[in-house]
């Protein structure tokens, strides 16, 4: 492999990985926007999405097959199911606590995360589940770069979801309400915006995006595990903060930046896969030291 081809491949790897991070980071950042909560259970919704999709797919693959059509259908159902799960979690666990100290809600989120993980642990006996699809390894070679069809669909799908989200947030009433709530919840309540509904919608969308990512990850990588949400949750949190937590374009950018940092970090001599996480975190810390609200975060001038 030539150096250019290596770099191109790492860029592609970063793009694919970054797409996953971005999808999960979006939910993080949206939920943070409306209720200022770092939803540590968010990664587990990604995991839950994967398992729901696997269940659906194994039920319907006899009819529609285990190719992309089946996966899309499974993804759609997983998004709806996990979106509802997100709403239920918000109503049961977070809503009663909105007046409580913020750190208490954080621990509640951790507890929710543990409940989700251990429920799936009990259901699956802690076993890895194979996500069997009929996707092949086919693809096209462009110059020195070989791109599989799965990668194309994946990145395209992620881009589509993000564009849809952007349109939703900027062009619809709920989207605008969501942004308004993120800026000033109390004012919105005074203006007659139904804040609980907006929060519910936000949880639904954020959770559904995580489920979409979980499904695609399951189909693309081929396995599911009750603990698979932990690491990506951590990474998505990092991505959301790099981009500027609360900022939707920030989450997308942060996801891509983190994906790129990790894939190029693996390739850079002296860093390599051993140190790539250290590399990412050092970059993160430097970003925050010099730009304390992340790459695209609003700089807040405190009003006295």
């Amino acid at each position: 492999m030539s150096l250019t081809s290596i770099l191109l491949h790492q860029a592609l790897n970063g793009l694919v990985l970054g797409s996953f991070y971005a999808l999960v980071a979006l939910g993080y950042t949206m939920i943070f926007g409306v209720i200022k909560l770092l939803n540590f259970a968010h990664g587990d919704l990604y995991m839950a999405g994967g398992f729901v999709a696997l269940l659906v797919l194994s039920a319907i693959s006899g009819i529609v097959g285990a190719g992309w059509p089946g996966i899309f259908l499974a993804m759609l159902l997983a998004m709806i199911a996990v979106g509802c799960l997100g709403v239920v979690i918000e109503r049961i666990a977070y809503h009663p606590m909105l007046g409580a100290p913020r750190l208490s809600i954080l621990i509640t989120a951790l507890a929710v995360s543990l409940v989700l993980e251990n429920t799936v642990l009990a259901l699956t006996n802690g076993q890895y589940a194979a996500f069997q699809t009929s996707l092949g390894f086919g693809g096209v070679a462009i110059g020195g770069l070989f791109i599989t069809y799965s990668e194309m669909v994946l990145v395209g799908m992620a881009a589509l979801l993000m564009v849809t989200l952007e349109l939703f947030v900027t062009r619809t009433q709920y989207g605008r309400a969501m942004r308004a709530v993120a800026v000033d919840t109390d004012m919105c309540a005074l203006l007659g915006i139904n804040v609980p509904t907006v929060i519910g919608v936000t949880f639904f969308i954020g959770s559904a995006l995580a489920a979409a990512a979980g499904t695609m990850a399951g189909a693309y990588y081929g396995s599911l595990w009750y603990f698979m949400g932990f690491l990506i949750g951590l990474k998505a949190f990092t991505a959301a903060v790099i981009g500027g937590i609360g900022s939707i374009p920030g989450a997308m950018l942060g996801g891509l930046v983190l994906g790129m940092l990790e894939s190029f970090g693996t390739q850079i001599p002296g860093i390599g896969s051993q140190w790539k996480d250290v590399f990412s975190f050092v970059v993160l810390i430097l970003v925050l030291v010099f730009k304390p609200t992340g790459l695209l975060g609003r700089s807040e001038q405190e009003r006295m």
Binding site: N13, S263, Q267
Partner: protein
């Protein structure tokens, strides 16, 4: 200070611990395995093997005229949990312990069993880091990582590989095996062209795959566990890597095929002998299947032997006193066990290498080194 909570908890614990008293006429054996967490499958499989051995021994009259009973301590493959579990076993007055799956979890328990003078037969954990930490009461009946590295280097070199990429997962077991292999491979005059560390649970190996492909190794050796290994294999093949892929004994699982599918075709696995490749294990497999409804897992035969070995040592010593049992274990020799003869080095490790090489043919393991 929290006056109340602590008292309440102490009271509760007193009740919890004052369980079954030390029963006269039985010999209690502890089984330290993970029965929760990601490695629970292995742990339960090992516990099943102990049940089988115990029943056979008891049916044949027990040991020194007493029946064997067993008590499981769940270490969850976590160092701190392992310490708790080991302490609990000791407090329950077990006369010996068999088991030990994750090396990282087994390591801190050595001191606990050592302080309590409990003989400990380690049936799966095989990191070389366990050897210097052994206070003298522990016996490793699985071959150690250095023997696996030797086997791997000889086999891969025999296949004509000159350059090697090694991938581990940053945990005690896989990093130990990776480092030993790197040292042996370099000593054999070959080159390690890539040495990568993945994070456990990372699903995307594409960056590592690209780095490996850029280094053009003749062979790739994955030293960690099957679940992540299957993903690496899949992604290597998906990216078009056509060289040899080999995995260590932690990846000896048919789950590897379920996840990696056709991509695992031709993958080599270095492992201790699993039941289906042991000529003496036909009856064992049959009994296991009859009792538990599934095939014995990779560490079942060794753990079965571990329990039998303890019984043998107690019988030979004519006592359950730990010093005598340990002395007897040191002399273990000449008996043909399920997994072959067991004799110990002066470090209490298995005196021979029991590693064999398997290959995936149509998603089933076959011997590749005969």
């Amino acid at each position: 200070m929290n006056r109340f909570g602590r008292l309440a908890v102490m009271a509760a614990m007193a009740c919890a611990i004052a369980g079954p008293a030390f029963a006269q006429g039985t010999i209690k054996i502890g089984v330290e395995v993970p029965t929760t967490g990601a490695e629970a499958t292995y742990g339960r499989d090992m516990a099943n093997a102990v049940v089988l051995a115990q029943d056979e021994i008891n049916k044949a009259g027990g040991v020194l005229g007493k029946k064997l009973t067993m008590v499981i301590g769940d270490d969850a493959c976590d160092p701190q949990q392992a310490v708790n579990a080991a302490s609990k076993l000791v407090s329950q007055h077990v006369l010996a312990v068999v088991g030990g799956y994750c090396s990282g979890a087994t390591l801190p328990t050595l001191k606990i069993y050592g302080d309590a003078h409990v003989p400990f037969v380690i049936t799966a954990s095989n990191s070389t880091k366990l050897i210097p930490a052994n206070p003298g009461n522990a016996f490793m009946i699985n071959s150690t990582g250095d023997q696996q590295a030797t086997k791997a280097v000889a086999f891969l070199a025999g296949k004509g590989a000159k350059t090697l990429a090694i991938v581990n997962e940053g945990d005690a077991y896989s990093q130990d095996l990776a480092n030993l292999t790197r040292a042996d491979w370099t000593k054999a005059g070959h080159k390690v062209v890539a040495y990568e560390t993945a994070s456990s649970g990372q699903q995307d190996y594409s960056a590592i795959v690209t780095a490996i492909r850029a280094a053009k190794p003749d062979a790739v050796f994955w030293t960690a566990y099957y679940a992540d290994g299957a993903l690496l294999i899949r992604q290597l093949r998906q990216a078009g890597y056509r060289g040899i892929i080999a995995v260590g004994d932690g990846s000896n699982s048919t789950k590897l095929f379920a996840i990696a599918g056709a991509a695992a075709e031709g993958v080599f696995c270095f492992t201790n002998p699993t039941a289906q490749f042991l000529p003496a294990a036909k009856a064992f497999i049959k009994a296991y299947k009859a009792r538990f409804g599934s095939n014995p897992g990779p560490y079942a035969p060794l753990t079965y032997d571990g329990m039998k070995l303890v019984a043998w040592a107690m019988t030979k010593a004519g006592s359950t006193a730990s010093a005598k049992v340990i002395a007897a274990l040191k002399t273990a020799d000449g008996v043909q066990w399920l997994t072959g003869p067991i004799r110990f080095t002066k470090h209490n490790t298995l005196a021979r290498s029991n590693f064999i090489v398997l290959e995936d043919r149509n998603n089933a393991w076959v011997r590749a080194d005969k």
